[in-house]
């Protein structure tokens, strides 16, 4: 029995990947403090490395068409070892999920509703995601179209309106940042954004034209990456050294827009786009976790798992972090190190083992 009855088209997958990556807009702020005016270089580098990573993931998906990551693990490593690997991936997904829940709570607290308890925002948001996950991947993919239109428009419009405030001297000197810090920044961006494309191994099997996987994932990454790049350039050019200090450079830079006192306070648009994008990311991660657990435990439907997993993720995020400074520290210095195992080594290992065992037979 198939757990997911919906199907998504190749263009929907492309938009899904694109909006998933554009959601990194908020978490990019972790990198600004390290690579300062060269952050756009780090984004560019991360985009290229991310495309290479994606090739590994796509190779894995194309080798086992119609199989999700959990099923692929079972096939490659055998039922027992495969489950062990699957559980590791699940840990990764659920911890990212809890991080994003914290993100949304923190973002709303900082910029919209300073006096609301964070748990209320998390509960509202995860109920929303739970509703989307229950409707299946098809519905999430359909909303993506709206999301990518809204966010791309917001990025383009704000870029155009900020041109008069931009100073190109803010980019100079290029390569002034030590190469080690540039690599560290690239690594962080990889960690928070591009390498998370791994989660789409849970979604790709439900595409109606499996042959176009490669094209649509790579194109989607390009769309998302270019969106991030545009936003980064905008932020650095508009804010300059300030971008390394503020918590959300996108919001702060858009705040500068003031055209004849008519077009002002556009940060609302950015905040709306941000919430929409975080919703897409959270829903996809949520979906992957729920579907993964259902596949490992061989349930007939993933729907009973949706609410319990949501509660679990909220709890996890509340006990993992006490403040956003803690989250900042851990995202800069701790988690990027150990997620290399999940994003890089494990998929590569899987591919190697599959090649050696000449799978699928």
């Amino acid at each position: 029995m198939k757990l997911e009855k919906g199907e998504i088209s190749s263009s929907q997958l492309m938009l899904l990947v694109g909006s998933f990556l554009q959601g990194g807009l908020l978490s990019l702020s972790f990198a600004y403090a390290i690579s300062r005016q060269d952050t756009w270089l780090a984004v560019l580098a991360a985009l290229f490395i991310g495309l290479l990573f994606a090739l590994v993931y796509i190779a894995l998906a194309n080798r086992f068409p119609g199989k999700t990551l959990m099923q692929i693990n079972d096939l490659i490593f055998g039922p027992f070892l495969g489950k062990l690997v699957s559980i590791q991936y699940l840990y990764l997904f659920i911890s990212s999920l809890s991080v994003y829940l914290w993100f949304i709570g923190d973002f709303v607290l900082t910029y919209l509703m300073p006096e609301t308890p964070i748990i209320l925002i998390m509960i509202m948001f995860s109920l929303l995601c739970a509703y989307a996950v229950r409707q299946g991947i098809e519905v999430i993919a359909r909303i993506c179209f709206i999301a990518i239109i809204v966010t791309s428009l917001v990025i383009l419009i704000t870029f155009a309106l900020l041109i008069k405030d931009m100073k190109y001297t803010y980019f100079l000197p290029i390569f002034e940042v030590p190469i080690g810090e540039l690599i560290q920044s690239t690594h962080i961006i990889m960690h928070v954004s591009f390498s998370e494309v791994l989660v789409f191994l849970m979604v790709i099997p439900y595409m109606n034209k499996p042959k176009q996987t490669k094209k649509s994932v790579l194109l989607g990454m390009l769309i998302g990456g270019l969106g991030l790049l545009t936003a980064t350039i905008r932020n650095i050019a508009a804010l300059g050294p300030l971008s390394a200090i503020v918590t959300s450079p996108s919001l702060e830079s858009v705040r500068l827009i003031d055209i004849g006192k008519v077009i002002t306070r556009l940060e609302v648009l950015v905040a709306m786009a941000q919430i929409l994008l975080l919703f897409i990311i959270t829903s996809v991660l949520y979906y992957a976790v729920v579907l993964g657990i259902a596949q490992i435990t061989k349930l007939r439907s993933y729907k009973p798992l949706v609410l319990p997993i949501g509660i679990f993720a909220i709890t996890l995020s509340l006990i993992s972090y006490e403040s956003s400074m803690q989250l900042r520290y851990s995202t800069r210095y701790i988690t990027p190190i150990f997620t290399v195992w999940f994003y890089f080594i494990l998929p590569l290992l899987s591919l190697l083992v599959a090649k050696l065992r000449k799978l699928p037979k």
Binding site: M113, M124, L128, Y131, R142, K261
Partner: protein, 542 residues
């Protein structure tokens, strides 16, 4: 598993309810199943009349006219019809007169069977005559206004089409007024309605398929579609759902709608309705199917997509620029009608920094001395507005004016000057009210959404509005109407269909029918229809 269990429990509950009634009322239960009821006519006229009487009973509008006819007045016969549903002149002139005053030619007493044939062939000047033997058919014909002619010695009856009852004349539709376009609207009579559509589409491929629904009302329901444009699967699905309706009464198309819709729990309607024949014809021509129900001027069209609510028939009759701009304003008005109070509440309660300073001053000055929080004010005004609206709809016209005066003067003017509500709130509610009438098809869902958004904004500001918007988007994206995604052509995206979504492309550019509905036969028109003066090449070739 769970689905099956739920089905079983609901079935058991139903049986328990029904059986409770029959157990207590066992005596009253008609033992009709056991008694031998005749199913077809006999040779004898008196027995036949008795049988019919048993079915029809003592109705005051029942007329049984016995007479004898033939050369020597040797044959007994009877006419049975319902007074008021039949054309009396027609019965007198075209049935009784020839039978009484003209002799049956070649009447051969040896073969009684041919008397009825001869009557049909030579005497009755009525277009539609059917021969029936089954009692059920006869009763059905009689109940829909046909006249039954029974002849002694014949096991067959003639069911003569004489039905004619009073109906309203064709007037302009009350719910959908237009500045430009046909002024005629559907009426209650099904046959007139099918004629109105047929007059627009004179194609032999236009099909009207009818069926009777409702065990007691026996309402005629008619599916209209164009054979080679409509998707056959869609027609099959409509027929299947219509056949599954096992209820006693169908009084209006709204009842049919509630039995066949895809999402009965959704606040959004997944079946469109219209009162205008040109609109119904346009939808049929796009590959949709129309469902006409006898006794109502509202015709259903399926499948419905969300953007259909924002399209008006006038968009296509006026030139594209104006139509596109008006359509944009409709989207804007819809957003205003569901979001304006919520945005006002969110801004004044949580995000004061977003309001321009001068405006903030005047707003807080107006708010000064108002005893309630903005959320309470907004909800209260919302309730008052809904009450006023409902009262205005139901009341007779002269009283309606009184209501609007009370609403405008007392609640608007006096409440502000008495300091009960702030003036900005009145402006917001008035704006919302006017905006909500711009998109009539979504007025009912809009009211509910408005209340939800206002509450969300009151409790969590802009974040709440955003959560609500995403939630509504998820819901809309998950809906389907007869297989067509409700949000198409936006999500899933279908680029060729965008020509008639936010803008209305020039008519000559709309070469294809909507992909999601009429892709069965995509071509609507020829490729080069762009008008203009003859080009150089044409001129030189001439």
């Amino acid at each position: 598993m769970g689905v099956m269990l739920r089905y079983l429990t609901s079935k058991l509950k139903y049986l328990k309810l029904v059986n409770q009634y029959y157990a207590t009322n066992q005596k009253n239960q008609a033992p009709s199943q056991d008694e031998k009821t005749p199913t077809s006519l006999t040779q004898n006229l008196t027995t036949n009349l008795e049988i019919l009487n048993g079915f029809i009973g003592n109705n005051f509008d029942l007329v049984i006219r016995k007479f004898t006819f033939g050369e020597h007045r040797q044959t007994n016969a009877a006419l049975v019809y319902l007074n008021g549903m039949t054309d009396q002149t027609m019965i007198n002139e075209s049935i009784l007169k020839p039978l009484l005053f003209e002799s049956v030619p070649n009447s051969n007493p040896a073969s009684n069977h041919s008397v009825i044939e001869m009557i049909t062939m030579t005497m009755l000047s009525v277009a539609e005559i059917k021969k029936r033997t089954l009692i059920q058919d006869i009763v059905e014909g009689y109940l829909s206004g046909e006249t039954i002619l029974l002849v002694d010695g014949s096991p067959e009856a003639l069911v003569i089409m004489t039905s004619d009852w009073k109906s309203r004349s064709i007037t302009d539709p009350k719910t959908e007024s237009v500045v430009r376009g046909p002024r005629e609207g559907f009426i209650e009579n099904l046959l007139t309605n099918t004629t109105l559509i047929r007059r627009k589409i004179k194609s032999s491929d236009l099909v009207f398929e009818s069926m009777k629904i409702g065990e007691r009302t026996k309402t005629t329901v008619c599916i209209a579609y164009i054979k080679d444009i409509a998707n056959p699967l869609l027609i099959e699905e409509i027929k299947r759902r219509l056949k599954d309706i096992k209820t006693d009464s169908i009084l209006e198309s709204g009842i049919v709608e509630q039995y066949i819709e895809d999402a009965p729990f959704s606040i959004f309607s997944t079946i469109a309705n219209t009162e205008k024949p040109d609109l119904a014809a346009a939808k049929i021509l796009e590959g949709r199917a129309a469902i006409l129900v006898d006794g109502t001027p509202f015709v259903l069209t399926v499948p419905m997509v969300f953007i259909e609510s924002f399209q008006s028939s006038e968009d296509y009759y006026s030139r594209p620029y104006f139509a596109s701009i008006i359509r944009m304003f409709r989207y804007l008005a819809y957003m205003l009608s569901i979001l304006a109070p919520a945005t006002y509440v969110a801004l004044t309660t949580y995000h004061q920094e977003l309001i321009p300073t001068a405006l903030l001053f005047s707003m807080s000055a107006a708010q000064e001395g108002v005893p309630f929080p903005v959320l309470v004010e907004a909800l209260g005004m919302g309730v008052i507005f809904e009450i006023l609206r409902e009262a205005g709809v139901r009341l007779p016209r002269p009283v309606g004016q009184a209501v609007s005066i009370v609403g405008a003067l007392v609640i608007g003017e006096s409440a502000v000057s008495a300091g009960l509500i702030g003036a900005p709130m009145v402006i917001v509610v008035a704006l919302t009210a006017i905006a909500s009438f711009v998109v009539p098809a979504q007025t009912d869902s809009g009211g509910i959404l408005r209340a939800i958004f206002t509450v969300l904004a009151g409790f969590s500001g802009g974040f709440g509005i955003m959560v609500g918007l995403i939630g509504v988007s998820i819901h809309l994206a998950s809906l389907r109407s007869f297989g067509t995604p409700y949000l198409s052509p936006l999500a899933p995206l279908s680029v060729p269909d965008l020509k008639d979504t936010f803008i209305r492309a020039p008519l000559w550019a709309m070469i294809t029918r909507p992909r999601t509905i009429g892709w069965h036969d995509p071509k609507r028109q020829e490729f080069r229809l762009k008008p203009g003066p003859p080009s150089e090449e044409d001129a030189s070739s001439n």
